[in-house]
Symmetry: C2
Subunit: 429 residues, 2 copies
């Protein structure tokens, strides 16, 4: 037997074993698939690749010295034992109190019972999906939407439909159409999700009128609306629109009467590696999420919540300012480079903040196929847009992140991408 | 209108609002209920209450200085940026490599692809349930079992049946009975769960013969077996039984051929507040869990994984020794106090390690009813045993934790509990 036979037989064993496990897994496991974004993150390790793929903050902006001091102070102080011990599922109370004040400043009057700490807002999405979505229920999302939201919702086996944020039809008609389509599929609308501010993946912000129309629709459907506010603070210019939760409170007079579930995070403003986010919502929702948190992982790491609290108190505003300045410069560099290097027929969004520009190629180009060549021959990376569509459409789109490359690398990377795309367009012509 | 009317009307509003949300929640939310343990944890804040309730480690044992140094070294070193950045869902590689060596030392030959980091083993249970359990599937658990496991499994809406670990009947007959009962309920066995070593809540260890019989049963049922090894290292005396995963590998020759999913944690040996645990299992299971982790919270806090890795390398063995010595003394104190203060008709387990003693009262006594009096008049707390039974049976049982009170407080607390129970028995006679 030669070594190749041996290798083939081992691969056969592995495949058989995987098939065996597939039978033992629950049916929902079929909706758990590998993410292109996460696979691509591995490319970041190769220094010669210019990556516009991962939507990750620039580590050079992290308040490293302040974080080191915070850990030291906590571990040398009277709370050291508590910092390392089991704790309550709701989260560290002083941090929740800081968030209450932060939300009030955003026009959201609320109390401590409206706040629960989560391990980043990714966990908030998982827990909300666990609370609301049953197999076959309809989840309304923008087309495209945040890939991580699709991944969080998928295990609960929803059906997806488009959240109609661009329509001027009356809310009652939009709601009726959504309900009809759901009914035809044996389903019912169960929740809506969107990133209203400088969104992932498009960089787009929903304007004031659009927000009011969306609240009308949610009202007509009587379903919760997940407001993913991950990038809300990262606005470089333009108007800070009021959060959907703030607008709904203004309509109803009280957070307890609202249906908006606001998901916040410190990942984009302070650091992502501590894994601290929160949900702000009506108390009955928060108390169920606390039970889900308790059953899910007991609580988020206590010491990280304490460190986050100290940072929030001391450097939050300064960090937001620093991040906006840095990412603003890089966005400008990318917009400038796109203007100079992209051939005719390619379009892109002009975001007022966040980390992303959304690229639309001519319809005959497939950004997934293009990526292989981009990585191997041009040493650049991005995320193909199809990943952000529940149905895999949008294959001629791509997400470019400007958050972690320097302006010079952005210029170089976009010029390579422009050359590659121009070549494809010329070849097709 | 007097202030009472006002308060009543507010309570009425809150109740109506909660009922409204109840209709919006998914049906599975009915199985998410508040935990007596966690509610009781709040009592720990009152210094005059002697609590045997929470199964929490003693904060005085935490390697605080080593933890402080580890944070400092990481944040002053070349990995500071990575420590605070987004990271891979599998977990921090050097920590996974340490765990591979640790598992090998436990008789479990495995590789890096068999290890995924979770936020404590509570998250491991949630993720495994998410992977395997569909609505109505049968989960086999001991009667009583770890309350947190029931909480983790409940949202996936299983049916529970008893894991028959005390029967000497042949595995084929036991399996047939389990399958028959499941079929009669329109269900199928989907997984089994137990804490085989000095368990939560009973302190009991499954002996070697019992382990082999259990593996026969799992074999006959062809379902995964969750081995919750949370307390495995905390053995003060007696024989370290091989882990179920080690025994199954010995049978089959290779971890890839096993069905045991080993859940480990640093919560009982190092500290719980960093929230670091792991799953060790066949690679097809681990790779699905990595996807669930990615969708669930992206990854566990990077810096805490790095700190845990440093502690594991430097103080793991010393911490285990320290914990065993301290908890061993307290177990002795509690057994001694039980022997002197408990009236006739009360029985308890004699654990060889862990944190718990399981108390059985005369059948007519209800430990939940007794608890109210224990807390208010005797200022002592424990967990009523009914919480650990899927069907709420075992109402005359209680879990006593000896991990966090001093021997003197244990003596005082057990003497109060003995007096209370003796009074109840005398009254009933």
């Amino acid at each position: 037997m030669n070594p190749n036979d041996d290798r083939e037989s081992q691969q056969g064993d592995a495949a058989r074993n995987e098939a065996l496990w597939q039978q033992r897994f629950g049916e929902r496991s079929e909706r758990m698939r590998a993410s292109e974004i996460r696979e691509l993150l591995k490319l970041l390790d190769q220094p010669d690749v210019i990556s516009f793929a991962g939507g990750i903050p620039d580590a050079a902006l992290f308040p490293q010295a302040e974080i080191a001091s915070a850990y030291q102070a906590i571990l040398a102080g009277p709370d050291a034992g508590a910092a390392l011990q089991y704790s309550v599922s709701e989260g560290y109370r002083p941090l929740r109190e800081w968030i209450v004040r932060h939300m009030r400043a955003l026009g959201v009057p609320c109390g401590i019972d409206n706040i629960v700490i989560t391990s980043g807002s990714q966990q908030a999405l998982d827990f909300i999906a666990k609370l609301f979505l049953m197999q076959g229920d309809t989840a309304l999302v923008t087309w495209p939407t945040y890939l991580g939201a699709l991944q969080a919702l998928n295990p609960y086996e929803p059906r997806y439909d488009k959240l109609p944020i661009d329509s001027n039809e009356p809310a009652s008609a939009l709601a009726a159409a959504v309900i009809d389509r759901a009914r035809a599929a044996g389903s019912r609308p169960r929740l809506a999700y969107l990133v209203p501010d400088v969104s992932n993946p498009t960089g787009r912000t929903l304007d004031r009128a659009g927000r009011e129309r969306l609240l009308d629709l949610i009202d007509a459907l009587d379903i919760p609306l997940i407001e993913d506010a991950a990038y809300q603070a990262l606005r470089f210019e333009g108007t800070h629109e009021p959060s959907l939760l703030a607008l709904e409170i203004a309509r109803r007079g009280d957070i307890e009467q609202t249906r908006t579930l606001y998901c916040g995070t410190f990942s984009k403003t302070l650091v992502p590696g501590l894994r601290v986010g929160w949900i702000c919502a009506a108390a009955p929702v928060v108390s169920k999420i606390v039970l889900i948190k308790q059953a899910g992982d007991l609580h988020s790491a206590t010491i990280n919540q304490m460190v986050t609290h100290r940072l929030a108190e001391s450097v939050y505003a300064a960090q937001v300012e620093k991040a906006c300045a840095a990412y603003g410069t890089r966005r400008d560099a990318m917009l400038d480079a796109l203007g100079r290097h992209m051939p005719k027929g390619v379009e892109w969004t002009v975001p007022e903040g966040g980390m992303f520009i959304w690229l639309t190629l001519p319809p005959h180009l497939d950004a997934t196929i293009l990526l292989a060549e981009a990585v191997t021959s041009e040493r650049i990376a991005y995320v193909p847009g199809g990943a952000f569509f529940p149905d895999g459409s949008g294959r001629n789109t791509a997400r470019l992140s400007f958050s972690s490359a320097s302006p010079a690398r952005i210029e170089e990377g976009i010029s390579r991408l422009g050359r590659l795309i121009a070549g494809k367009i010329a070849k097709a012509a």
